[in-house]
């Protein structure tokens, strides 16, 4: 009798565990959020979604939650809180629901998206970089003709899918400078449009280091393991785009044609990087970290920094004026790289109407207010009346208004190329390569990366 009781108990336990296993796959279909959901006010958003689905019950509802419910996958963890506020405001103003999920830190969004795609749990709006459009070929909605597209020149246009990307921010990269230090040293940043002008400026600054209170002229770091994205993607971007018009794709086309490199341009670029290596803080150059680099610039230890407007986001961070100077490795280069490094796109099998509605609202006044004034982003929209708080904004805007900006074509290079090129920058910084060695090695590693 006892053993029978025991066997019944065991069988019961097994049945329970089985049903526990069996119930799990059904959950993502019924629920709305994945593990990464970070809705601040879940109760409120659930109620809101119910309201929204009641209100919109007559229109067609492709997504599980209702017509007005849109899920957005955000790739910038630093603005998660602001996007949650944005979602709240969207709900207040339109009654529609926006659910923001944030991926960040060491997990990148494209990797997480693949998992979501395999699990049939795709968000309606997600973030992509320009070169990832081909990965999603045929799966992104064409947003052409939407009202917001008339207000910006920064949308992402794909040959086969049309207008697919909504620009949510504009970022710029060039040589960021500390205007106060340059002024004290008598260097006019507007004159920095040729290698010789830079050579003179760097020399002057280097000689007056003690007087100016700086430790080094440049905060340039070529450490490859953690900062490879900076050298391999952003600094390398200057080779691809510096001095070119925003829609000029000469060097990226050459690169994507089997990894070809323009010898003359690469050589000039190498000479300029060599100069940067020479004048950079040696403590930072080979073994530094991003934090060290940015902290050094914020403390006024460096006159220049090789980052973009993201490194100093709030005026409270710095006590001096900031600006951008072009990487003038050839005479007459006078552009900075500016544009959206990544875009929001609408998944064509998701709630496209909801996404379109959100994009139109998002380009409007109240949404831009949050994105610009709270999230510290730079608006890509012409009619945005808010001045970004970013200390680099004034300089950025002057370049953009003058049409002196180049594109982020570096995002179109073959996936993973930055991990190869960053090592060449590091070797050059360590002195293992000279300028010619840098140019030829760069050409060789790029070519073999494209070949394999």
């Amino acid at each position: 009798m006892k053993s029978r009781f025991l066997s019944v108990l065991l069988a019961g336990a097994m049945a329970v565990s089985l049903s526990a296993c069996g119930a799990a796959p059904a959950a993502p279909a019924a629920g709305t959020g994945s593990e990464t959901t970070e809705a601040t006010d879940e109760g409120a958003s659930e109620e809101a979604s119910e309201e929204a689905s009641e209100e919109a019950s007559d229109s067609s509802a492709p997504a599980a939650g209702g017509a007005g419910e849109v899920r957005l996958l955000n790739g910038k963890p630093e603005i998660d809180q602001q996007l949650q506020d944005l979602a709240k405001l969207y709900n207040e103003e339109t009654g529609n629901t926006l659910i923001v999920e944030t991926i960040g830190g060491d997990t990148n969004a494209s990797d997480e998206l693949k998992k979501m795609y395999q699990a049939d749990n795709m968000p309606d709006i997600f973030v992509i970089e320009a070169n990832q459009a081909d990965t999603w070929d045929g799966m992104l909605a064409d947003l052409a003709g939407e009202a917001w597209t008339d207000k910006t020149g920064f949308e992402l246009i794909n040959a086969s899918m049309g207008t697919i990307g909504f620009p949510y921010t504009v970022e710029a990269t060039a040589l960021g400078y500390n205007a106060d230090v340059l002024k004290a040293a008598g260097v006019d940043p507007a004159s920095l449009t040729s290698p010789s002008a830079y050579a003179d400026a760097f020399k002057t600054l280097d000689e007056k280091k003690g007087e100016l209170g700086i430790t080094a002229v440049l905060g340039w770091c070529a450490e490859p393991a953690n900062l490879g994205w900076s050298s391999g993607t952003h600094v390398f971007a200057q080779y691809l785009d510096a001095g070119l018009k925003a829609d000029d794709t000469t060097y990226i086309d050459l690169l994507n044609d089997g990894g070809k490199v323009d010898e003359k341009r690469m050589k000039d670029f190498a000479e300029f990087i060599g100069m940067m290596n020479q004048y950079s803080d040696p403590e930072l150059l080979v073994d530094g970290t991003y934090d060290q680099q940015v902290a050094g610039f914020k403390d006024g230890k460096y006159a220049f920094i090789t980052q973009g407007n993201w490194c100093v986001t709030s005026p409270d961070d710095v006590s001096f004026e900031c600006g951008f100077a072009p990487y003038a490795f050839e005479d007459g280069i006078d552009t900075i790289i500016a544009g959206p490094p990544s875009y929001w796109v609408a998944y064509s099998e998701g709630n496209v109407d909801g996404a379109k509605e959100f994009f139109n609202w998002c380009s409007g006044d109240s949404a831009q207010n949050i994105l610009v004034n709270q999230a510290g982003l730079v608006s890509p929209f012409d009619d945005c009346k808010y001045e970004a708080v970013n200390p680099f904004y004034k300089s950025m805007k002057s370049y953009i208004d003058a049409g002196k900006y180049s594109g982020w074509h570096t995002m179109l290079k073959k996936d993973g190329l930055q991990n190869v090129t960053c090592q060449v920058f590091a070797d050059y910084a360590q002195g293992k390569l000279d300028a010619d060695g840098f140019a030829s090695t760069m050409a060789q590693v790029i070519q073999s990366y494209y070949a394999n």
Partner: protein
């Protein structure tokens, strides 16, 4: 045999059929993406009914086997879902051009031939083997010496054991970042002062490799030490006593008594260090992320000087966005690991008998 009541037979077959129907219905709804609310329930109830039917199945001869199967099923199911199916799927994917999202078609052996044309990948295989050789010897040596220390009669034994084991409790990624700081910010202070070598050892391929070996030993020796301690403690006291009466000194006791007596432990430990060193990933990722240059390898300038196999597979799939190619490399990795492990266990077993 006719000893079963009609009731029992009906219950059994009824349950079996109802269970199967429910499960198929549930699966059909899942595949056809209809009926979101019912499909999970249908599947679970179906499975339970099916097993109830199987349990009641009118047979004496096979009843015990059926019960065994029912009890083994949860484990086998979990094993299949987490190990067998992914393995088979992975091998399947390695013959395609899957990029994590779409699969355009089968490419046959192209991924397999392509990987051997990649100097960077061949370099990864070579340094992985080198790393394994270094680690099997050094980890076991260090761990064995620590174990001898921790089985001797020194004071504060508990503290030492805990201290040596502690690094093993820290995750590899965290450990990698800690040591990265030590190598680039602490050790450089000394090297700058002593040799005027300003750059950290992580910036040079050879020294970075040594750096990974050091961190790995630091992490893993404590764990292997615990196993050696257990082994050393199982040596019967009378054998040691007899040897000391016969006048064996410490060295003789060590080489002629202790080491032969713990041969099975040595087998386990070499096996553990071998497989785990092969699969080295987290410290590699956090410490160097595979960076480091090799000036001339097979006529190429390599930029992945410290990238070991597992990390190479990861970056191929995730960073370079070539999932199928990464899968092909992973299949090769699996084969290498399986062959090496089998050979190693065979050899060790033979030696155990001889000793």
């Amino acid at each position: 045999m006719g000893e079963f009541s009609v009731m029992r037979k009906t219950a059994s077959f009824g349950c079996l059929i109802a269970g199967l129907v429910l499960m198929i219905w549930g699966l059909a709804m899942a595949i056809g993406k209809t009926g979101n609310t019912l499909r999970g329930g249908a599947l679970v109830v179906g499975a339970v009914l099916f097993f109830a039917g199987l349990y009641l199945f009118p047979t004496f001869k096979h009843h015990r086997t059926i019960v065994n199967i029912i009890f083994l099923f949860p484990l086998l199911f979990a094993f299949a879902v987490t190990v067998i199916i992914p393995l088979v799927l992975g091998i399947g994917y390695s013959f395609t051009d899957w990029n994590g999202i779409k699969m355009k078609g089968f490419v046959g052996m192209a991924n397999y031939t392509r990987m051997f044309k990649q100097p960077g990948f061949i370099w990864s295989i070579l340094i992985t083997f080198l790393f394994v050789v270094f680690n099997i010897i050094l980890v076991n040596l260090v761990a064995f010496l620590l174990a001898l220390l921790c089985t001797s009669k020194i004071k504060g034994l508990g503290f030492f054991r805990a201290a040596y084991f502690l690094p093993n409790l820290i995750g590899g990624i965290v450990l990698g970042y800690i040591w990265q700081f030590i190598f680039s910010n602490v050790i450089t202070k000394f090297t700058t002062a002593l040799f005027d070598a300003r750059y950290s050892m992580l910036s040079e391929t050879k020294t970075a490799f040594i750096g990974i070996v050091i961190v790995y030993i630091w992490q893993y020796a404590g764990y292997i030490m615990l196993i050696y301690i257990t082994g050393l403690n199982t040596i019967p006291g009378d054998v040691l006593e007899a040897s000391s009466i016969d006048g064996a000194n410490a060295t003789q006791t060590l080489f002629n008594i202790k080491i032969p007596m713990i041969a099975p432990t040595i087998t386990i430990c070499t096996f553990l260090t071998l497989t785990s060193a092969f699969k080295q990933f987290d410290v590699n990722l956090a410490l160097t992320n595979g960076t480091g240059s090799v000036a001339d390898f097979m006529g190429n300038y390599l930029t992945n000087g410290t990238e070991m196999l597992a990390l190479n597979i990861y970056s191929t799939a995730v960073i370079n966005n070539e999932y199928a190619f990464g899968e092909a490399k992973a299949v090769l990795f699996f084969i290498i690991l399986a062959v090496v492990s089998i050979v190693q266990v065979r050899i060790s077993n033979k030696r155990e008998v001889e000793l």
